[in-house]
Subunit: 626 residues, 2 copies
């Protein structure tokens, strides 16, 4: 199959899924009767049920299983919090405006589209030219406004809708801004992530946990990003549900007591080195990835393993799921390591969960801004004599040398680890000066001997005070659900073969409704039995749908397969009924009294379908699928 | 007990509850390290668990039990939707500004505080004066900006913080405003309620339900109100969780098939007439209230009954719960009837659930604005000859007579019911003119014979097309939870009697954690048993907390009572353990293998504590509460 055919098939599959999802109200473009708003979607009844099942399982799998502290903070957030976190200054995309109509576009999208189209449409382009376009695509995220503007000029890119000239690129903050209270003097934003609500509560949560590390806090809630021009349907939206975990840990001990429970799990991993050297993702046991240092630490590895279990339990295909390590240029400067769970769907490989070791960055930022120390204490049983690294920048000399950049140089010096500091000490002693990279300046500076003293001092200490590291698994619930739809969707011919029927093979855990109840024919006796069964299902806490229309039983099966309902109960007598399984279409015969408990067993995972198939008489279909 | 003593006790009780809630992190003032934001609160770990239990029960009790269509719409809402619903124009409070500092206050609050203080502090005031203040308090919500401004002037009310003069009152819109997309040209708001998301989806939901009425849609989600100056702690907040139901029904048939299931429920009701005549709330069976016409229709009555069951199952005290009917001046002009579930707490009687018959108002408003007909169809088996009321306003004449008000007069004429229209017809025939009240103008106008023709015409019709009525139960989840805290809270002396211990008597359904596990003494064997039990609890899906500190068992019981944990497991041997019930403090002895299933039975309501008390040997405490 050639690339064009493959693209065509992918697009056809994508359309089939999306049409089914929209027709059966898994989702609805929001405010449709008013022609909608780009990037906003409603979950309709089955979508809402799937979402609520996914979130319930998330709570069970993470919060309950790990005894996490769940919190629930507001979406409206005052500016000071997001100033501290860096969002007010840095949460931007580069935008260009059509100079005549004022329509806004993402600058990188225009360049990306241009390069991709060139590469696709002009296969005979000189190799050198093609390499240039490929290079631009690879470094797109790193380009400055000026560099991006230069590319737009060089390629002669104009407004896609009008061909008008475009403005130079400038940053647009992606947060929805608002004002808190009536005065107009308190700017606020709709939170772009839920994590900050946890960080600002660190002190209380640490206390709640008995002043002990490690512990994790978790939050499920809405987050908001005012995208410039949303594309990619359900994957790039302006409001979405995040589920985030902040696991606080001693930076000197990132081991995890339950790591052995996941260590033997083996799945597709895509380490940084393999990406750079052009290899593909490969299966690595997570235990090996940690012991070989591919994954930075056990806690990070533990969560990668748990995320793998979470996603595959939901029904994500393990062969279209990979854990990709961030490249150096993707990762924040403070992060120790970062892996994305990426799921392959018709849009390509999509980042659905980010699992990052953010070190002490966030707690430090809020400590600095609020003046409240967000730290942990380790009390020693006996006072300890410790050798402490003391880095004392000589501010006067640094000020003379670096003027306005002094503060950033001081911070960079103070942030040095022991190894780096001791190396600097010996170089300064031997060579009087050293080249030193200051991240925040983006360049090297020359540090002279008189600018800093580095020493080790012995002290008696009763406790250790430190800022915990945080390991953050962050789940984009809407993206996971969309990928789940694609991985669960298949078609099969109707019995006559005349048409293709759609099926979602959701596991019962996810299915929006656990079973349907159909009286075989319209008849009062059968309807009464159906109602009795409905009542027993409600009592057992099982969601169901009853369909008493006179439609043929085959059509009714097809309708419910398209919603991914795992089991269908057909009432064809007053004493026993049949249960049909969605994917195998096999049927068993069960008494009216037992039916709710059999459905409960199967949908709650206490029995499998083969278990009950063995236990109950199978029913060869008098009323089959057609 | 005199009124002052009662007020003092109420305040002391309130403080005890709130202190416990804050200390144990049921809630946390949001962004506390930055000195917080008025009207924003976080749910800390136990509060978050309570909330999630309340919402899960809401889903079970309403959505699942009634097969409702749950949807999930965004918070960000474009202006056009809230223009149609009336929120852009009318969702306001009257505000005054301190003329020097610019600080904002709610005008009605200042007048209310002034009148209340006068009445409390000056018992010897002339009866006439007291009556005046009481009257102002009663009509406060109906006063126009001018009238309220006049009162402020008359009473000489100044800024409470500075005593500076105040501006005249003016309306402040309570929605948080924002801008959708980068252009700045698409105003949007954070939704003030979730209901509009359902109304705009009516057409799709009706189709999803097989084009059949009645059906209900439901939504749980955040709503936002930018309060001018939030007071009353957790009851008046700027962001809160709503759970709303919109039950769509044929306006000609508001019967409910399951009404008989609630008809015999009897609880405190406070009909409009009783309020006006100064009586108290009284117990009325809901069946009687509907049959006597106190409650407008069966569907409204059914939901009142279901709300009663919901609240009392959560643990709301039925003697401090009443259903109060809206007075004529409280109710929107389009509403057919409206009842609030009010719960008494230390703040007084608080509206926690509103249950309103909003007639066809919302669907009509969106039909008009969007041009998409939000209607239902009833197909007749045979074409029917129907006599149809035809009201034809003569726009030319009405325009001459009423100029700019013409449109409102036309709408009011067209909205007449059959009875009113036929009376108008006969009056116009006999007297040539009639006085007619136009709600939207707030006054009577004179309609002359040449301004409208009213007739009945016979037609053959194949179907009936109509706008459904909507009955809306709307739940303020945060308020319900706060009242639940107060109703569940009590104190009891410690065994020594030295101090008062706090207890929340949450039913297991609500309790944030279902049980705790304590090894009696710090010892490796016991800790291993505790871990085994913990594992079996997790497997059974039961939330628990393990406490292996060396603290005395009495103190550990007290800690967990204060979180409202119903059961505590104490490990005092390797084969059997004790289970202690929170309120009775009774203990039973159970084998390690059985303990998880016993806890599950009791906390899921399959057995009561007396059931298991009878079944297992009771344990007279060697390790009691002290």
């Amino acid at each position: 199959m050639d690339a064009a055919q493959e693209a065509h098939n992918r697009e056809a599959f994508h359309q089939a899924v999306v049409n089914t999802l929209e027709r059966r109200l898994f989702y609805i473009p929001s405010f449709k009767i008013y022609r909608g708003v780009a990037g906003l979607y409603d979950y309709g009844p089955p979508g809402c049920a799937v979402k609520s099942n996914v979130l319930a399982f998330w709570r069970q799998h993470f919060v309950l299983e790990e005894n996490m502290l769940e919190v629930d903070c507001p979406c409206v957030t005052p500016e000071v919090v997001l100033k501290a976190s860096g969002h007010v200054d840095k949460f931007t995309d580069l935008m260009v405006k059509d100079e005549k109509t004022g329509t806004c576009y993402r600058a990188d999208h225009l360049v990306k589209d241009f390069c991709k189209e060139k590469l696709e449409k002009d296969p005979n382009m000189p190799a050198e030219k093609a390499a240039e376009f490929r290079h631009v695509l690879a470094v797109l995220d790193d380009l400055s406004p000026e560099e991006l503007g230069a590319k737009i000029k060089e390629y002669g890119i104009t407004s896609p809708d009008t061909k008008n000239p475009l403005s130079a690129p400038y940053p647009f903050n992606l947060m929805f801004q608002t004002s808190i209270g009536p005065s107009g003097l308190s700017p606020g934003y709709m939170r772009p992530e839920t994590a900050q609500g946890i960080f600002v509560n660190f002190k209380d949560l640490y206390y709640y946990n008995g002043n002990k590390l490690p512990f994790a806090a978790a939050q499920i809630g809405q987050a908001f990003r005012n995208e410039i021009s949303p594309r990619q349907g359900l994957l790039r939206v302006r409001e979405f549900t995040l589920a985030e975990i902040e696991h606080f840990v001693d930076p000197d001990d990132k081991s995890h007591p339950k790591f052995s429970e996941v260590a033997s799990l083996e799945f597709l991993m895509f380490p940084r080195e393999d990406q750079v050297s052009g290899q593909s993702a490969r299966r690595i046991p997570i235990g090996v990835a940690v012991s070989e240092g591919i994954v930075n630490n056990e806690t990070l590895g533990y969560f990668i393993g748990r995320v793998y279990l979470f996603l595959t339990c939901l029904g994500i295909d393990k062969d279209r799921l990979r854990f990709r390590q961030h490249l150096a240029n993707e990762m924040a400067h403070y992060a120790a390591d970062c892996w994305d769970a990426e799921i392959e769907c018709s849009y390509g490989w999509i980042e659905c969960v980010g699992i990052a070791d953010r070190s002490a960055y966030d707690l430090r930022a809020h400590t600095d801004k609020s003046g409240v120390p967000l730290v942990a204490h380790e009390k020693f049983a006996e006072p300890r004599e410790v050798e402490k690294l003391v880095i004392a920048p000589v501010k006067k000399e640094l000020g003379l040398a670096f003027k306005g950049n002094q503060k950033m140089v001081v911070e960079a010096l103070e942030a040095m680890g022991e190894k780096e500091a001791m190396e600097m000490k010996s170089t300064l002693e031997s060579k009087e000066e050293i080249e030193f990279h200051v991240c925040t300046l983006g360049k090297d500076v020359t540090i002279k001997k008189n600018m800093v003293t580095i020493s080790k001092e012995k002290k008696k200490e009763h406790q250790r005070v430190f800022t915990p590291s945080v390991i953050e698994p962050s789940f984009g619930i809407g993206r996971i659900i969309y990928c789940l739809y694609e991985h669960s969707f298949y078609t099969r011919p109707s019995k006559g073969g005349g048409e293709q029927l759609n099926v979602f093979r959701f596991p019962p855990l996810v299915a929006p409704i656990k079973c349907t109840v159909f009286p075989l024919v319209q008849n009062q006796q059968y309807e009464e039995v159906a109602k009795r069964i409905a009542k027993s299902l409600t009592a057992a806490g099982i969601s169901y749908k009853i369909d008493i229309t006179g439609t043929s039983i085959g059509k009714r099966y097809a309708r419910t397969d398209e919603l991914g309902v795992p089991l269908a109960i057909t009432v064809d007598s007053t004493s026993t009924v049949t249960i049909r399984e969605r994917d195998s279409k096999q049927q068993i015969r069960v008494s009216v009294e037992e039916v709710a408990s059999v459905v409960k067993e199967v949908t709650e995972g206490l029995s499998t379908w083969p278990d009950v198939l063995w236990k109950f008489p199978s029913h060869s279909s008098m009323h089959g699928d057609d």
